[in-house]
């Protein structure tokens, strides 16, 4: 095998494909092959073992888990380099011709949680329209298209929006006061109502877009890059007063984002032609920097990119590095 083989997250795929294409254009190495199939499937194949018939790089929209590192090690994949390439902003957007929204996490909690706090009591969520949630909003039917539970984005949504909303509305306290254990209360916070007002999307953002197309009341969760490519159809909502842009996300002002990674098998470096070059090229300033093509496409570049570059140069692995 002469080419670098990459597998994993479909969220990282666009960035990886841009890099792979430019890598092929600028190096004599063959263009790397970038498969999609999900972070989990990619890491699973990554951890299958060391050798030419396994992948060299796994893209992931979340950090590798302890259990996975162990599973990797069981198969002889011990020296893993973790590379954080930047952040994926997660935005809320609705139809371009519809009403404009300025959300807070509390709004989302009150709209989607099966149980909310009303007048000091935890009751079944009575809210049917956005006006019920917040009088400032139009009386528009709640129709949320949120990522299905297979998506890492869902986890981010739960942690950074629902859980936060749960706390700020005081629902968390009220639940604990009502005798729930802390864990149970936290679990209850991130539950989503199942009466049809919220729809899980197992597909990708195009599907969410199509759903909003079919239901103009819909509000969907998108990646920043996807939204930026579809500003003709979508308008983005602010969160806690901040408009999501690459800048506001990289400064941490806009709260909802997640880091993106790829993982490299150190053992393959020096054996698979172009592997190290690919990794270095990926995080080079020209590519992943704030003016590079990745940022242009919608990646929130990592302020600590220099550290990452150095780590790659030193072939720092997870065990030795972190």
């Amino acid at each position: 095998r002469d080419n670098v083989q990459v597998a994993g997250s479909s969220t990282v795929l666009p960035y990886a494909s841009i890099v792979a294409e430019a890598f092929g254009e600028n190096f004599d190495f063959p263009t790397p092959v970038v498969e999609s199939g999900g972070s989990s499937a990619g890491l699973k194949r990554f951890c299958e073992g060391v050798g030419a018939n396994t992948v060299d790089v796994a893209n992931a929209s979340r950090a590798i888990r302890e259990k996975e590192i162990k599973a990797c090690a069981d198969n002889g994949v011990t020296d893993i380099m973790e590379v954080r390439i930047g952040y994926d902003g997660i935005v809320f957007a609705s139809d371009i011709d519809g009403a404009t929204f300025e959300f807070t996490p509390a709004d989302w909690f009150n709209a989607l949680s099966p149980k909310v706090l009303v007048d000091g009591a935890i009751i079944d969520n009575p809210n049917q329209t956005w006006a019920d949630v917040n009088p400032a909003f139009p009386a528009q039917q709640i129709a949320a298209f949120i990522p299905g539970t297979k998506h890492g984005t869902r986890e981010v949504f739960e942690e950074k929006v629902l859980a936060v909303g749960c706390e700020t509305t005081g629902a968390l306290k009220a639940m604990e006061a009502a005798g729930m254990s802390e864990d149970d209360a936290e679990d209850a916070c991130i539950k989503v109502r199942t009466d049809g007002l919220s729809t899980d999307i197992d597909g990708d953002y195009t599907e969410t877009l199509a759903r909003i197309d079919a239901n103009k009341d819909g509000i969907g969760v998108f990646g920043l890059a996807f939204y930026e490519n579809n500003t003709d159809k979508l308008q983005v909502a602010t969160m806690s007063g901040v408009t999501p842009t690459t800048e506001s996300i990289s400064t941490g002002e806009y709260p909802v984002s997640r880091p993106l990674f790829f993982y490299v098998k150190k053992a393959h470096i020096g054996v698979i032609p172009g592997l190290k070059e690919y990794a270095e090229f990926f995080v080079s300033d020209e590519v992943a920097g704030p003016d590079g093509p990745l940022a242009e496409y919608g990646l929130v570049s990592d302020p600590e990119l220099a550290l990452t570059q150095e780590a790659i140069a030193n072939e720092q692995t997870i065990a030795s590095g972190s």
Binding site: E25, G37, V55, T231, D232
Partner: protein, 456 residues
């Protein structure tokens, strides 16, 4: 025997020209029945028509593309500082190094054409063009080092937004919050169209080209993944058809009828119900990890059309076996008797008489099986054929089976997911190509089937 009085007519005599009530009723039922048939067919064809018009109306745009012709001065001081035309040195200049040249060239075009625009920054100007432009230039320079220092006119892809504007998909209002292009750009484009610098023309590289990354929808083509599909279909056709027919012949004509063969029969029908992605799991485990990894067969690797073809073969087999068996069953036994009776062996009987008579059913199974295999994406997901893969043409026919490649449906599926709406048009365009491919592939089978059809 029976007495004559028994033979009294049950029914009264009537003229044939007068249709009696019962016959009327039966004829009405007949007409209804026939009507159901017509309705069913019309419905089917109607659905087809709706789908096809949708596909065609959305997809034809993908076959044309906007180009901008730009004369670029290939400045020596940027491209070959040492001036000795050493390829190694020229290669050191990355595509990023070509950006300034492009910006200057565009400014020159504006100046020369006398266009008026507010846009002056090189980076902003370059937004008119596809990001493939620099790559195109660099490849040209490496091929033609002697051209360094000259001015060469390139036909660059316009960026997807500009193309969308020309095709009517993008309007000035749409660009209000778009950071990729602004309304001023469009004013400039209008002038450039006027001057003939910007043209929309047929884009063969959509049909023959390779996939491009997310940021370059204008450059993406289906050609390489079409080859991927072609190689996979070759594998499927040359394995699934013979194996399927052979298996059916064995089970239907030779196998003893017992519990074991019942089990095999049920098992084959059951295979048809196995979700296609599970075949992907099997393909990953058996072909890639076992054959490729454990046995060390180099051709069995991820992303190889050979492996994809094998997986699709396994997936198509049940369809072919089920239809072939049904067709074999439908051949009247008297024909087998006739052949056996003149001393043909069972094998000869089957191959000379039964098989030709069952051919229409077998071909139908093949047509449907191949259609299914050609359109399938899910199993390819697990064997590494979905993603950004079809970016290089294979080096040779033989390596076409093993070089990493994607497949048409996977490519279309990938495009449909991408963020830039320009890919959406390409996805539909890709479906047109896929359907043309399908029809071409099936035409022989359809003609053959017509030849074999007969009643007895």
């Amino acid at each position: 025997m029976t007495d004559a009085s028994n033979a009294a007519p049950l029914r009264e005599k009537k003229s044939l020209l007068v249709v009696d009530a019962r016959t009327k009723k039966r004829n009405a039922a007949e007409a209804r029945f026939k009507m159901y048939g017509i309705i069913a067919i019309t419905l089917g064809l109607l659905f087809l028509a709706v789908l096809l018009t949708t596909i065609i109306s959305r997809g034809t745009g993908a076959f044309t593309q906007t180009f901008i012709s730009v004369p670029v001065e290939l400045r020596e001081d940027k491209l070959d500082k040492k001036g000795n035309r050493n390829l190694e040195d020229i290669k050191k200049v990355s595509t990023f190094g070509y950006n300034p040249l492009l910006g200057d060239a565009l400014s020159a075009v504006i100046a020369e054409g006398g266009f008026t625009t507010e846009i002056t920054k090189s980076k902003e100007l370059r937004k008119l063009l596809s990001s493939s432009a620099v790559g195109q230039m660099r490849a040209y320079v490496i091929e033609n080092t002697d051209q360094i220092g000259q001015t060469v006119t390139f036909d660059f892809f316009a960026s997807s937004r500009v193309d969308g504007y020309i095709k009517g998909r993008v309007t000035r209002e749409d660009l209000a919050r778009d950071k990729n292009l602004s309304a001023e750009h469009l004013d400039l484009v209008d002038q450039m169209i006027e001057a003939g610098v910007v043209r929309k023309k047929f884009n063969p590289s959509f049909i023959f080209g390779a996939d491009a990354s997310e940021s370059r929808p204008e450059q993406a083509g289906l050609g390489v993944s079409m080859l991927g599909s072609l190689f996979m279909m070759l594998v499927v056709l040359f394995l699934a058809l013979p194996i399927g027919v052979a298996a059916s012949i064995y089970l239907e004509e030779f196998a003893p009828k017992n519990r074991l063969t019942d089990l095999i029969e049920v098992n084959i029908s059951n295979l048809a119900a196995v979700p296609s992605i599970v075949f992907g799991i099997l393909g990953l485990a058996f072909f890639i990890q076992f054959c490729g990894g454990y046995l060390g067969i180099a051709a069995m690797k991820a992303s190889a059309p050979l492996v994809g073809g094998l997986v699709l073969t396994l997936m198509t087999l049940p369809t072919i076996i089920i239809s072939t068996r049904a067709a074999l069953k439908a051949v009247p036994p008297s024909i087998r008797d006739a052949a056996l009776g003149v001393g043909a062996s069972k094998m000869q009987t089957v191959f000379h008489h039964v098989l030709p008579l069952a051919a229409p059913g077998i071909l139908t199974g093949t047509i449907i099986g191949l259609a299914q295999a050609l359109g399938e994406t899910a199993p390819l997901l697990l064997i590494g054929m979905v993603g950004y893969i079809a970016s290089n043409y294979p080096d040779s026919v033989l390596s076409g089976f093993t070089d990493p490649n994607s497949a048409m449906p996977a490519q279309i599926f990938e495009w449909a997911k991408r963020a830039d709406p320009a890919f959406y048009e390409r996805a539909w365009g890709g479906i047109i190509i896929l359907l043309v491919f399908l029809m071409t592939m099936n035409i022989i089978a359809i003609l053959l089937r017509r030849r074999f059809e007969r009643r007895w």
